[in-house]
Symmetry: C2
Subunit: 206 residues, 2 copies
């Protein structure tokens, strides 16, 4: 399933190093985080020499950006699913479930998630041009959805949609880190906490 379309990225000496590296790197990171990923070990595991990856990724930073991009594609897919269900189901239910899905996705790929939003890339590294675009794009999608939600009076919104989107996202993001880093809570409380957060935002007849 991965080898079948092996020639849309051209195959080189090794086969197709680029996707192989990306995949292996994602694996390594999911186990021990980005600091456990060494360019040399990566090359080793894939079976090439230490500096071979540098012909496909300018930097370690560039490699990390590529991994983060994949993550953004995943969460974007989550929002697309929302848009589909939106036509037939209750908005508040979808909203609630999106929260749960998002948090679960973040938890199952926590290292990748940290890469997407963490300081390593955004503050100390330098985010790739393409990472910047996909990240902005995703926020736009989110903003759009929040706008639809407030138009339909589903969520509390005493402010501009932009502010609401920022605050809601901050809450969601904060929850993810809370759970991902295991601070102040455990994963068993996940569902309850997510529900409590949603309740705080929903404009329901309480």
């Amino acid at each position: 399933m991965k080898q079948t379309d092996a020639h849309n990225t051209r195959h080189y000496h090794h086969g197709d190093l680029y996707p192989t590296l990306l995949h292996a790197a994602t694996d390594i990171i999911s186990e021990g985080g980005s600091e456990s990923l060494s360019m040399r070990k990566l090359a080793d595991r894939v079976g090439v020499s230490r500096t071979a990856p540098y012909h496909h990724f300018k930097d370690k930073n560039a490699l990390l950006c590529a991994i983060a991009e994949q993550g953004f594609k995943n969460v974007e897919r989550l929002l697309e699913e929302v848009r589909v269900r939106e036509k037939t189901e209750s908005l508040s239910v979808i909203f609630t479930e999106y929260f749960h899905h998002y948090i679960k996705l973040a938890y199952q790929n926590r290292e990748q998630y940290d890469l997407m939003f963490g300081r390593e890339i955004w503050r100390h590294g330098s985010p790739t041009e393409s990472l910047q675009t996909i990240s902005r794009q995703h926020f736009k999608s989110w903003l759009n959805w929040i706008e639809r939600l407030s138009e339909q009076d589903v969520i509390r919104t005493d402010d501009s949609p932009l502010r609401t989107a920022q605050v809601c996202w901050a809450t969601l993001h904060g929850l993810c880190r809370l759970l991902n880093d295991g601070i102040y809570t455990e994963q068993s409380q996940l569902d309850e906490i997510a529900n409590a957060a949603v309740e705080m935002m929903l404009k329901k007849p309480h």
Copy 2:
């Protein structure tokens, strides 16, 4: 002012290395983050040999924990201030202002803040015993305050105080990361966003 009480920690060859190291390390980190802090450069800057710090901090990890601890003492002080003002001023005003103060503090010491709650220590490193206690202690203080706030009907709370505390803190924390990492927003919007977040939590006659 630092040398005056130089003998509560005994003075050694160098003078008092422990606080000197701690201070210098905090400085270095505040500029370039924890990954820019090298034990060797630190030792160099302070004027001792590479491995001297290892007699005061078991690890680089232990050093980072010590820095994080200082951060917790700072935020704890913020909550103490709240307890004082509580007797004379409006709770909702204090709550709002606490949000702004906390965010500002986090922003002004962002690297330290990341250390306090980030994966580096909590997930990949191993938090010191004393760091764990002070961190738990701080959440207890926060929880206490949230309890008082919901008893006085200041904030929305459809759930147990614990859940409310977790969600509110997640929101606050999420905002900090949002601003610290410069994702999806800029620092100029800080005040507005913080206000929007508070509004979402307050149970005011809207």
